[in-house]
């Protein structure tokens, strides 16, 4: 199944955005963009609550592209909201969780889309999303056998082990063994790593102010 790689599901949604309304100060597509522009990207963001989400994106697709003559120029009659997500588990569970756990985000974004039924009935929302789903033709996942939390835990272990090794270089065997037991205990009690990280820990360099 092309939507699946190992235990990772690749969801692709194209939801048609409502046409422009003369009564609105701004159009639906612009309203979606304004809303998304203010949404946190880190652990305080909505998708950090859907714990199975590895990566996802929301994109307003304004039109198809014209690559130049002799290709034919053509245009879409609607804009489409693209939702691309890479998550653990099955589709129904994921869509239901979206409706139940991040209803504000779902409502604020998809209310601008044609046929959106709301989130009061999660099953109706899931059915609507499936109508907008396009089957992935080819899906590549480099690591496809670990959940988000397993991945975060491994990164935490790697960091802790690295610090431990640096800190305990050259110590006598007895002290080393004792320190290792303390490390094990501390790791057992450590809180789960934050999904989505903390924006406040980023630096200007990490945010790379330009890319090309």
């Amino acid at each position: 199944m092309a939507n699946q790689s190992g235990q990772i599901y690749g969801l692709t949604i194209l939801a048609p955005i409502l046409g422009e309304d003369d009564h609105l100060d701004i159009g639906h597509a612009t309203a979606v963009r304004w809303y998304l522009a203010g949404l946190p990207q880190d652990h305080t963001g909505p998708f950090a609550k859907i714990s199975s989400t590895h990566f996802c994106r929301l994109v307003v697709m304004d039109d198809v592209v014209f690559v130049g003559s002799p290709a034919r120029e053509e245009h879409l009659k609607s804009r489409y909201l693209v939702f691309e997500s890479n998550f653990d588990g099955d589709l129904d569970t994921y869509l239901t969780r979206m409706a139940r756990e991040i209803p504000d985000l779902v409502d604020a974004v998809w209310k601008h889309c044609v046929g959106y039924p709301g989130v009061a009935d999660p099953a109706a929302f899931a059915a609507y999303m499936k109508k907008c789903q396009i089957t992935t033709t080819f899906f590549f996942a480099d690591v496809n056998n670990k959940t988000v939390d397993q991945t975060l835990k491994a990164l935490q272990v790697q960091s802790d082990v690295s610090h431990f090794i640096a800190k305990n270089q050259g110590k006598p065997a007895v002290e080393l063994q004792s320190a290792f037991r303390i490390l094990l205990e501390r790791m057992t009690k450590a809180p789960a790593p934050l999904r989505g990280g903390k924006d406040s820990e980023k630096t200007a360099a990490e945010d790379r102010p330009y890319d090309h």
Binding site: A2, A48, R57, V59, V65, A71, I134, V157, Q158, V161
Partner: protein
């Protein structure tokens, strides 16, 4: 310092979107190519060995497949089918396209040669111009582990496996035996150590 939200980038990952038109008769050929690519795993080894793509996908949207959910919604009237590409990669846009062009040129050409006016992935200048033309920006990008690259994730998983085995096997060792086993553990994981964090600045 107030941080600027860059919507194509979150931590070490870049979200790329690209859409290219294809003549309808070419679509079945590309379906077949993707089918073969999916069925014969060794064909994916170059993509896997590049090791800087967390997730990527190609989605063929046929001319009549754009969702139509309400009679009031105008029906699309398209002549082309479309190939949409989504990638979550590490590094900068230029690094990504350069690496793709240098390492995967045959594979890329096999996939995109069916798209209108695709210039080929080598030489890189027209290839970059084409990608720039067909790419569209991301409005919101979430990454559950923004400080980790694909290589960081793979290394962390190897460290965790080795660490769990060492912790289990060293429970009842004497200090001298523990020290010896610890050194063996260090040798095993030394290439995979380090902390995740900020990405280097580059173009």
């Amino acid at each position: 310092m107030e941080l600027l939200l860059l919507t194509n980038i979150n931590g070490k990952a870049y979200a790329m979107n690209a859409i290219t038109p294809m003549k309808r008769w070419k679509t079945p050929i590309l379906w077949l190519i993707f089918f073969i690519l999916g069925a014969i795993k060794p064909l994916q080894s170059a993509l896997k060995n590049l090791s800087f793509i967390h997730f990527a996908r190609w989605v063929i949207v046929k001319h009549n497949q754009f969702p139509h959910l309400d009679p009031k919604q105008p029906a699309e009237d398209l002549q082309y089918d479309y190939l949409i590409f989504f990638s979550n990669f590490n590094g900068t846009w230029n690094e990504y396209i350069d690496a793709f062009s240098a390492v995967l040129s045959k594979g890329l050409n096999t996939i995109w040669r069916w798209s209108e006016k695709f210039p080929g992935s080598v030489p890189v200048t027209p290839f970059k111009t084409y990608i720039g033309q067909v790419q569209f920006d991301t409005d919101y990008y979430y990454n559950a582990y923004p400080r980790a690259s694909t290589n960081d994730v793979k290394a962390a998983l190897r460290v965790q496996d080795a660490f769990n085995a060492f912790a289990e096997n060293s429970k009842n060792l004497s200090p001298a035996e523990f020290e010896k086993a610890y050194l063996e553990f260090l040798v095993q994981v030394q290439a995979d150590l380090g902390s995740t964090g900020m990405a280097p600045v580059g173009t």
